[in-house]
């Protein structure tokens, strides 16, 4: 953490207001949802126990996941490093003659600097989550793991989208939407992250609010999902625990607007879906964390981002004062 970055963040009163009010909104939302559920702490404990069990038997569940993905006609790519993951995507795009890729929000792809690798290979890559799209146009990195453009005001967003300064949120969204719809239709590959990987059904679960992940995974001919291997959970029914905890903690919603279950390419008779499906399971240092009994717990994280919203330090210095793409308390770990 660099002192001048901290001082810059602290000295920017507009930024200070933006971070403070946005994190308060997210934290208050969580508090309200948690108050409605007397058994919330039990659910958290159950989610913890499932994660603990899964990571203690990771080899079994990952192999089961792979078997089921393959049974659905998909392919699993085991990537030890970020470079291996990026190389696979670049090579596949070249083989299939793809020069436009659409992406939905994925911190894992940020972690491996995928956009830089694709750009260097001359492949146009478009972020389709509104916040990520804004950040991409501004040539910045996500400021918050679930709200990447949390630090931008409406005026700044209008400027980035080259819209009139007094545009409303609806007008700005419509502007982005018009551009992105075309990209979805033209793209040869759609890349998504994954909130959960279900071993017993070989499915990727993506939770989102804008519908862009669903379009990224179904409109282009090829769908690639990229996820750290710790995202695996044993059974589809475990989702009843995780989905209750995730949206409430992340955005104060009971459930996100879209919850997509993506299992392989389109089957015969199905109207939608990709022709090819690839799941990249990323290590990128996770095995080292797994080997450390104490640090292993950090792999239980479901990336709700609540720790950032509650962290008094994050709320002052913001998301760019941390040494890598994951900011806030969990980023420090």
């Amino acid at each position: 953490m660099k002192l001048h970055q901290i001082q810059e963040a602290l000295g920017d009163s507009r930024l200070q207001r933006a971070i403070y009010s946005a994190t308060a909104r997210l934290a208050d939302g969580r508090t309200a949802r948690v108050a409605e559920m007397p058994d919330f702490q039990d659910l958290r404990q159950r989610a913890h126990d499932i994660k603990q069990h899964t990571l203690d038997h990771l080899d079994t569940y990952l192999e089961e996941l792979e078997r089921n993905v393959v049974a659905h006609g998909g392919q699993v790519i085991w990537a030890n490093t970020g470079k291996e993951a990026s190389d696979f995507i670049v090579d596949l795009a070249r083989q299939r003659g793809v020069n436009l890729i659409v992406k939905s929000k994925s911190m894992t792809s940020e972690e491996i600097h995928l956009n830089d690798a694709l750009e260097a290979a001359g492949i146009e890559t478009v972020e389709t989550d509104l916040g990520e799209y804004i950040i991409q146009l501004a040539h910045e990195k996500p400021y918050h793991i679930i709200a990447p453009a949390l630090h931008k005001t409406m005026g700044q967003v209008a400027e980035i989208l080259k819209a009139p300064a007094d545009s409303t949120a609806e007008e700005l969204t419509a502007l982005a939407r018009a551009v992105l719809r075309e990209k979805f239709l033209q793209a040869g590959i759609g890349i998504t992250g994954a909130n959960f990987l279900i071993a017993d059904s070989g499915a990727v679960v993506v939770v989102e609010n804008e519908g862009n992940a669903r379009l990224s995974s179904s409109a282009p001919r090829i769908h690639i999902a990229i996820a750290g291997f710790e995202k695996v959970i044993p059974r589809a029914q475990d989702l009843s625990v995780f989905l209750k905890v995730l949206a409430r903690s992340a955005t104060g919603q009971k459930l996100s607007v879209y919850t997509s279950f993506l299992a392989g390419p389109r089957r015969q008779g199905e109207p939608d879906g990709p022709d090819e499906f690839y799941l990249i399971l990323l290590d990128n240092g996770r095995s080292r964390v797994l080997a450390d009994r104490e640090k292993r717990q950090s792999l239980y994280c479901i990336r709700c981002g609540a720790c950032l919203n509650h962290c008094p330090v994050y709320r002052k210095i913001g998301g760019y004062s941390y040494p890598w793409v994951y900011s806030g308390p969990i980023g420090k770990i």
Binding site: L3, I6, L10, P312, K316
Partner: protein, 206 residues
Amino acid sequence: MAMAEVLERAGCDVEFREAQTCCGQPAFNSGYREEARRVAAHFMKVFEGSEYIVVPSGSCASMISHHYDQPDPRVWEFSKFLVDVLHVEDLGARLDRVVTYHDSCHALRELKIKDAPRRLLANVRGLRVVEMDAAEECCGFGGTFSVKFADVSGAMARTKIESILRTGADTVVSIDSSCLMQLQGALSRAGSNIRTMHLAEVLASR
């Protein structure tokens, strides 16, 4: 002194052992585990033979009960001791002030103390308690954090006092002197006349 007075009023025999020192938290938080262990050993020795050890600080009480190798069950934070051990909530205090209560991090988050100090304040005659919107927010002190990251610490204190100022209270009360020191510094620099008081001082007032 104020704590001793309140405890005596509540019927305790109070003894102050002069050989006592710091609980060792600054060393512990800075990574000097061995040195902290030596301070902890000294702590145990000094308080040998006493029935209860009452601490006027959530931070120290939390250090002793959460981070010592062998947490001492005789150690109690002051407000929790009054309410949960002595079962006393009214100490016959009187203070004509408007106060707002600051939840310190260690007391609230590690010791889960939220109601005890508020119940004690509710029974002080002449006192009006106004909750601030950011009661649970950190004051920014954080021990050595305030030295290592003075800029961030100061910024957090300024946000906290904005919330205090919105209440219209003339006094901020807490059970941690370190928070109060931080807040008093920030309040004075902001030109405010609001003063800080430890809960024990409030309860000792007549």
